[in-house]
């Protein structure tokens, strides 16, 4: 028995990722741990309010994930991490010695990913373990 770590932001592709993760976990007999990560950019000042709002939002997203999982008759654990999503997922997966990380993708091209920063792309380089990328 292992753990599958899922990156979740409440979007359609995150929901698709959690659905796939539930299927894989069933087949493997694994646990699912959902991570809602958020990044607070210091640029622009007035950080405290934005950070508080982002944390509240991430907590709501964790609750959304638990609701979705309940709908799929699966039990999950979740946590909120204040870090860039790919770093948060890498760290949590390391801590739990996860079997794999599952994330959704919005299907961005390589140029857009490089410019704007795509979590799946970065994750592939930082994760150090299997990553499953699920399109919406």
């Amino acid at each position: 028995m292992g753990t599958i770590v899922v990156g979740y932001d409440g979007s359609d592709c995150a929901r698709a990722a959690l659905r796939t993760a539930v299927e894989v976990a069933r087949a493997m007999g694994d646990d699912i741990h959902v991570v809602a990560a958020y990044e607070v950019s210091r640029m622009g000042g007035e950080v405290a309010d934005l950070a508080a709002a982002l944390r509240e939002r991430a907590e709501r997203i964790g609750a959304l994930a638990r609701d979705q999982a309940a709908g799929l008759h699966a039990e999950i654990t979740s946590e909120v991490v204040d870090d860039r999503p790919h770093a948060a997922l890498t760290d949590v997966a390391e801590r739990l010695d996860a079997r794999m990380i599952v994330v959704g993708t919005h299907g961005e091209g390589p140029l857009r990913s490089a410019l704007i920063g795509s979590t799946p792309h970065k994750l592939l380089q930082s994760a150090g373990r299997p990553v499953l990328v699920v399109p919406a």
């Binding site: 607070v40 640029m43 000042g45």
Partner: protein, 355 residues
């Protein structure tokens, strides 16, 4: 720029770093080449650097006041360097250290470039091309034709960086106000995927563009005057921040000599200086003779725009009062003493890495 601020936090930070780096490198190259040329080739009109340039007492009182006023304007926005410089590992100390480093870097850049330009061209050339010193012959003769275009890059990248740092903080400030229930709650929303205050960012972008287009169409002189007018707003809010610091930490002021100096005397002195400059500036710019454009209602245009917008703010606040009762009912608050300890990290930022 609005798009970048709206779409991606990461891209915003990287754009800002790239733009500042370009500007920094170009200006350093310019200053070094100019100074080396002065001491090696002694071009016509060049003057060697002299200690008297750095003596503020030698120029008299009025020029000094005007100089400080200009300085307030050119230091405006230094807080952006703070955020760009900020290290991410040590959220407790890094911001303070970054602020000091940024200020010193900014001072060094201004000082070195000004000294280099004055030394190379002599005071005559500088005052003859006061509007645009780089294209006024200084750029091409220092760096040679072709390379002088680098200076245009410095100006453009500086302008773009400033544009970005106009949109970001105003979006953040209105966001914080909306969360404090002092602004429409629409402004307290975060974009589902991009995690930025999207509505605020777009509104601020549109307002900036509309203001600029409107002003430019009136006349470029009004543009010049409205830039002077920004100085009033800056002096006002930096000044009030100094006084607010003393009030907010009033219970901690007399706990130690260190507290008294750092959260009492220095911020108050800063506030008092800026208030003084604010008043001096009203007297100087209120005189229509010092305007770029025709005075409005007999008042100098910068004072009309600068002080007028502050007065307008008071009017809007009075109108908003009945709509935001909860916010206006708040009592004068006191700082948490823990804020002053070395390892303090704001609760919202704890166990996080930031940027």
């Amino acid at each position: 720029m609005t798009w970048i601020c709206w779409r991606a936090i990461e891209l915003s930070a990287r754009t800002q770093q790239a733009l500042l780096a370009m500007e920094f490198v170009t200006l350093v190259v310019f200053a070094v080449v100019a100074l080396v040329t002065v001491y090696v080739n002694h071009p016509a009109h060049s003057v060697e650097v002299s200690a008297s340039w750095f003596d503020p007492t030698s120029i008299g009182f009025t020029p000094l006041t005007n100089g400080v006023l200009l300085a307030v304007f050119i230091y405006w926005g230094w807080d952006t360097c703070v955020t760009v410089n900020e290290e991410t590992e040590d959220a407790g100390r890094a911001p303070g250290r970054a602020a000091v480093v940024s200020t010193l870097m900014l001072l060094a850049i201004y000082l070195v470039v000004t000294v280099a330009a004055q030394s190379y061209g002599g005071p005559g050339l500088l005052s003859a091309h006061a509007d645009d010193i780089f294209s006024g012959g200084l750029g091409s003769s220092v760096l040679g034709s072709g390379l002088d275009k680098l200076l245009i890059i410095a100006v453009l990248s500086s302008a773009s960086a400033s544009t970005q740092t106009t949109i970001l903080p105003t979006a953040r400030t209105t966001f914080a106000m909306a969360r404090a229930k002092a602004f429409p709650c629409r402004f307290g929303r975060i974009h589902q995927r991009f995690q930025t205050p999207d509505f605020n960012t777009i509104v601020m972008g549109i307002v900036s563009i509309a203001w600029f287009v409107a002003i430019v169409n009136v006349s470029s002189n009004v543009l010049g005057d409205s830039i002077t007018a920004i100085g009033f707003a800056i002096a006002f809010y930096y000044g009030i921040t100094g006084f607010a610091c003393v009030v907010y930490f009033r219970h901690e002021l007399f706990q130690s000599v260190r507290n008294f100096i750092y959260i009492g005397v220095l911020p108050f002195a800063g506030g008092a200086m800026l208030t003084y400059i604010f008043v001096e500036a009203i007297i100087f710019d209120g005189n229509p003779a010092n305007d770029y454009s025709t005075p409005i209602l007999g008042i100098g245009t910068p004072v009309f725009i600068g002080v007028g917008s502050l007065v307008l703010g008071v009017v809007v606040m009075l109108i908003a009062r009945p709509f935001y009762r909860e916010f206006f009912a708040r009592k004068l608050e006191v700082a948490d003493p823990a804020v002053l300890t070395d390892d303090y990290v704001h609760p919202a930022l704890r166990d996080g890495t930031g940027l």
